[in-house]
């Protein structure tokens, strides 16, 4: 019984560590016009699901997504809880019923960083090691 408990504890610890590593694979960046330096996971989810356009500090934000890739998949899984296909379906259901516009989508970390740097209120995600000059990195709480 003790052995089983140890295995369970180890398994939970491994899963928790894996989750931390996945979340650490990406970083959230924002245009310098966004005054907040941190964002809650709940706010982040709202921004990328088009239910939230204003952060708690009053900054208006606009999401930028990547078209695909490991960073994109990790971000969707860690923060939105949706697959890429499910997210596409979700956005299309809004766009074709007049409830939202399709968000900006670009192809790489560099393109996200460039778009965020030049676009007021833009908020996006890149891999943790990506170069991101001219933007601010936000803490996700």
């Amino acid at each position: 019984m003790k052995h089983l408990r140890s295995v369970l504890v180890a398994a939970v610890a491994c899963l928790a560590a894996a989750a931390v590593v996945r979340a650490a694979d990406t970083k959230v960046i924002a245009n310098e016009s966004v005054t907040a330096s941190s964002i809650s996971a709940e706010e982040l989810k709202g921004v990328f699901l088009a239910t939230k356009s204003v952060l708690s500090d009053g900054s208006h934000v606009e999401p930028v997504l990547q078209k695909g890739g490991a960073t994109h998949e990790a971000f969707l899984k860690d923060y939105l809880g949706k697959t890429d296909a499910a997210l596409s379906t979700y956005y299309r259901s809004l766009v074709f019923t007049g409830k939202a516009s399709m968000p900006k989508t670009v192809g790489s970390d560099a393109e996200v960083a460039a778009y965020v740097a030049k676009t007021k209120g833009a908020i996006g995600y890149v891999s943790a090691g990506a170069a991101t000059s001219g933007v601010k990195t936000m803490d996700v709480k």
């Binding site: 356009s53 074709f96 007049g98």
Partner: protein
Amino acid sequence: MHSRVKTFALLAVACVTPTLYGQFDFTMAGRKVQIHSFGSQGFAYSDENNFLSMKTSSGSFSMTDFGANVSSQLTDKFRVGAQIYDRNVGKLGNWEPQLDWAVADYRFKDWFGIRGGKVKTSLGLYNDTQDLTFLYPWALMPQSVYPVDSRGDTIAHIGADLYGNISLKNAGSLAYTAYGGQRPSDKGSGMVYGLQTSSLVNGNFIVAIGKKIDSYGGPVYGADLRWTTPLKGLLVGASYAHLDVDTHGSYLSNKLPYLLTSQDKTIASYVQYTLGNFNFAGEYRKENRFNYFNTASGAAASNSQNARLGFVSASYRISKRLEVGSYHSRIVPNWLANHGDPKNHIFDQAITTRIDLTNYLDFKIEGHFMDGADIDSTMSRGFFAASNPGGIKPQMKMLVLRLGFHM
């Protein structure tokens, strides 16, 4: 001939779609503008009966629809957009293009916004997206709840929505919509087709007594509440809709004016759960409808329906290009009568395979195993007396193929 030309034109558009970019964005007067479109071409073949006013018993391609929208975010809080929709399904739609929605949307806060114009109606899980079959694995949405022939009855209202999204912190979030307005007249609907081609006499719809329908519409109001729960992937919700409909016309035989006044109250509850590539959904509705009308002899008459309807569905995406699924859909138009009477129920078991040929082009193969065939021109579900002059068989199987695009 005219319909065939349009059908082939749509197929041609669908075939060149893979060469196009997924959406069309441009800037006009400093504002970003987006254009999107979708369309589909279907084929249906049934071993018995003619479904949805198509000649499905001999195989029918008369199942085509198309939509296109343009929208722009004018300011951080203000958006405008509009969509046209056109369809031809058997005797329904008749290629008459409709303004599907046209909205001006001002979001004061994330928890409070107003959208006005012609607005898609929030009712149940899929009412506002029921035409957008590219969103789903199904070639035909569950017809008990989202009937192709009656889509115009609830699809949109000319009026306004109050809407918002409220964070419940650790308890998830709550999205609400409250709406009111006028239901637009849809003269290409199944209800109008049913009323034009038959009349209720002593509980039976008689094809020989037809009518000319001049107008059909009325006020509608309701609300929808959907809770994104803290359990990842689980959404639950409830809706209420109240519709008053006045139908004006005249009997063909003696030109006597015809007036049908209907009151319809619908309560819906629904659930959706997504776990990775699995998707489960279900919806249950209680719909009460009271009809007051005059017969061909001028006598006042009435009838009522106390219906129960719903579906459960499950689907699984096997790969990026392949998804399979099944649903069970059922309606009992008169809950107080014998549910076993084939004229008082439709049970539909569907199995489907969706193949995503590209990111913008999908093809579906779907089998339906239907039991029961309610014929009712005021709560129609695809079975019309005029389309089935030899009578309705209580059971049928149907194959539906559908090729669709969206961009």
